[in-house]
Symmetry: C2
Subunit: 221 residues, 2 copies
DNA sequence: GCCTGTGAACTCGTTCACAGCC
DNA sequence: GGCTGTGAACGAGTTCACAGGC
C-alpha cells in the first residue's frame, strides 16, 4: 500500500533532495503526457540521466510510493510530488525590479501551471512606475510593497534589481513578511533566520563556463 | 611572493569551487570600488557571509596569492581571479529562443563588464525572425546557427526555448561546435562528453521555496 | 602578534548491494 | 523474476587546527 509520511523532519532533508523532487515532477509530467502509467526507478533514471538509487532514496524520505516488482504509478507519483512540494495550492509572487529580467519573469506564471502567480512588479524608478508590462501588469512603486504583499497575499519575493539595491530590497521584503526570497542580483546578500533566501547568479554560471572553456572540460559532465 | 600555479589538474577542481571563485571575484570588485587595498580571508568571510578556511582552500588550488600576517592584496587577487576564470578575453554568446527570457538576456553583456558579449539571438518561429530586440540585435533563423557560431566566433550557447525544443537545440549547438551550453529550459537534457552543459531551472528554485514554505524553513539558512 | 596554506578530522551526500515483497 | 526501500560502504566537500612565514 503506497502512502505518504506526514512526520518527516525538514531539517533532515537536504536541499539537493528537494531540488531533485522538482526534477522528478517534471519527468513524471512528461511520462503522463506520453501515456506511460507505470515506471521503475531504473527506467526513470535511464530515460532522464539520473541515478536510480538516488531516486528511491529521495522518495523514501517522504513515504513508500512504489510497489516492489512493479515500480511507481506515474499519476500517483505525480500527485505525491505535488503534495510534498506544496504545489497543491497557488503561491503568489511579487517581483521587485522592473528591468528586462523582472519583466520577462512576469510571464512565468504561464509555464508553471497553476502553482505560481505573479501578482505584482515593483520598481523604485519613477519613470518606470505606471508603465504596463507585456504580461498585463502595471509597474508599481516599491514603497507599496508591504501593502501589496498583504492585500494580494504574496508569499514569495523575487529580486531583479541591480546589485546595489538588492540587500535593501531584501530587507524590505523581510519586513513586509515574505518568508521566501529568490535573488537574481549578482551579490551576496543575507536574510535573517526563518527567511529562506536562494540566489541565482547568471554571472556565476557564465564564468563557470568560461573557466572550463579555458582549462578544459572535465570527464563525463 | 604571490604566484599563480599553471599546472593544476581541472579534474581535481570541484565545480563548487569554481562557482565560489566567481563569487569571490564579485566581492573583490566591490572592495576595490570601496578603495580597500588589502583583506584577510577572515574579513572577507565576515563581510560576505562566507567561510574563511574555504576561501583559503579554494584559492590555494590555483596558487599562493596571500601574504602571511597580511592577507590578500585586493587588486592583485582580482587579477588572479580574472585570469583563473578565463575572463581576460571576451567570450561570445549565441542565444536560441527569442522569448521574453532570451530577449532579456541580450542585455546581459552590459552587466558583465568586458567578459561576455551576446552576438546573436535565434529562433525557429518565422514570425519572430527579423524582429529587432530592444538590445539592438535582429532575431535570426536558427537554421543559421552553424554559420553564425563560426563567423562570429561564439563559444557559449544559451537555450531559452520551451522544454520540447531544448534537446534538439542542444544537439544543433553541439554540431555547430559550441563547447559550453547554458540551458534555461525546464527539462533534463544531455550533451556528449567534451561539451559542458549547465542547467538553470527557475521552476526548480520556485518549487524549492514552495517546499520550505509548506514544511517550515530549516535552521540558519 | 596575525594570517596563510594545508594535512587531518569530520560531515554530508551518493552509490552499492541486498533483504524483503510483489 | 523484478523492483523497492534501506543499512552499510564509499566518496566528495567542508571545517578544524596548526605549522610556518610575515
Amino acid at each position: 500500500m503506497p502512502h505518504l509520511k506526514r512526520d518527516f523532519n525538514v531539517n533532515t532533508i537536504s536541499e539537493l533532495t528537494v531540488a531533485r523532487l522538482s526534477i522528478y515532477l517534471r519527468c513524471v509530467e512528461e511520462l503522463q503526457r506520453l501515456g506511460i502509467e507505470t515506471i521503475s526507478s531504473q527506467a526513470l533514471a535511464k530515460r532522464y540521466h539520473l541515478n536510480s538509487a538516488q531516486i528511491r532514496k529521495d522518495l523514501a524520505y517522504f513515504g513508500e510510493f512504489g510497489v516492489r516488482g512493479m515500480g511507481y504509478n506515474v499519476s500517483e507519483l505525480r500527485q505525491y510530488l505535488i503534495e510534498i512540494l506544496g504545489l497543491s495550492r497557488e503561491r503568489r509572487i511579487v517581483i521587485v525590479g522592473a528591468g528586462n529580467l523582472g519583466i520577462a519573469l512576469c510571464h512565468y506564471s504561464r509555464f508553471t501551471g497553476e502553482s505560481f502567480l505573479v501578482v505584482g512588479i515593483l520598481d523604485s524608478n519613477a519613470s518606470k512606475i505606471g508603465e504596463s508590462t507585456p504580461a498585463g501588469l502595471l509597474v508599481e512603486s516599491v514603497s507599496r510593497l508591504p501593502e501589496i504583499v498583504h492585500q494580494r497575499e504574496a508569499e514569495i519575493g523575487v529580486i531583479t534589481t541591480p546589485g546595489e539595491s538588492a540587500q535593501g530590497v531584501c530587507n524590505l521584503m523581510v519586513e513586509a513578511g515574505l518568508k521566501a526570497i529568490l535573488n537574481f542580483a549578482p551579490v551576496q546578500i543575507k536574510a535573517p533566520d526563518g527567511v529562506l533566501l536562494r540566489s541565482v547568479d547568471l554571472r556565476v554560471h557564465l564564468e563557470e563556463l568560461s573557466f572550463f572553456l579555458t582549462h578544459g572540460i572535465p570527464d563525463s559532465g
